[in-house]
Symmetry: C2
């Protein structure tokens, strides 16, 4: 005997992992984006470019794209924007003249250093709200996911 009134929907989005992951990631990203947008007028691709260069020092545009999974035109435009503000400079590679070696300027490094602090503070605030258990579990869960994708 079928009870129409209590029939369960085939898929509960709130329980579906891709949905949950996406929503959480989007919520966090937006909050953090508010910080670098308000303080430095950076877009997401620009922040990612800045952060990647800040971490690795000297990189090509292609390498930035690979590392941060951004399309090469996105990187190209972000690089242009950062260059306009003198936060980044290009140096043509003498050995391979197709390549541009990108590097933050002192001004760019300053912005990066400041935003790195903001990022750490943001993360600390977030983690403190998850409690030690939540933090451990989230990190372990993410690590498992990353291992799977790798």
């Amino acid at each position: 005997m079928v009870d129409e009134t209590t029939e369960k929907p085939p898929l509960i989005l709130e329980d579906f992992l891709p949905y949950r992951l996406n929503k959480a990631a989007e919520a966090i990203s937006q909050r953090f984006a508010g910080l670098y947008r308000d303080q430095y007028g950076l877009t997401r691709p620009e922040w990612r470019t800045l952060a990647t260069l800040g971490q690795f020092g000297v990189l090509t545009a292609t390498a930035i794209g690979t590392h941060s999974s951004m399309h090469k035109t996105k990187v190209s435009r972000a690089v242009f924007a950062l260059e306009q503000r003198y936060w980044l400079r290009r140096k043509r590679d003498e050995a391979d003249r197709r390549i541009e070696n990108l590097e933050l300027t002192p001004a760019g490094r300053k912005v990066y250093a400041d935003l790195a602090k903001v990022a750490h503070a943001f993360e600390a605030e977030l983690l403190s709200n998850l409690g030690p258990h939540g933090e451990k579990e989230l990190k372990a869960g993410l690590a498992a996911l990353e291992a799977y994708f790798r």
Copy 2:
């Protein structure tokens, strides 16, 4: 004495939670999107609209947007696209004639039912690769995050 050669970068993206979360979410979403795109030619907003309606039965466009955090124009266009395929129909609300009550057609429910199965299989596959520990931790970590945002 400062050792320039071993100086640590201010921020390691691979350890930064928003970055990790985003990358994982994006990787998963893209894989899953490949399925509904290949099998039914659905875009992401269309799939979300279909899934939300499938789960809740009858909703307004605004409610869909609220629930799935999509901009109302995105919803509007997704609804239009689904309507074109006769997977969804609108019924003006007699009590409040601004409102459209949206509902999947039998054809739409069929697509939804099939994709719900695909979704469950996808999730099961994913979870099986995380192992029981990874699964538990990921779910608990996400729950902690969700509790924080709520």
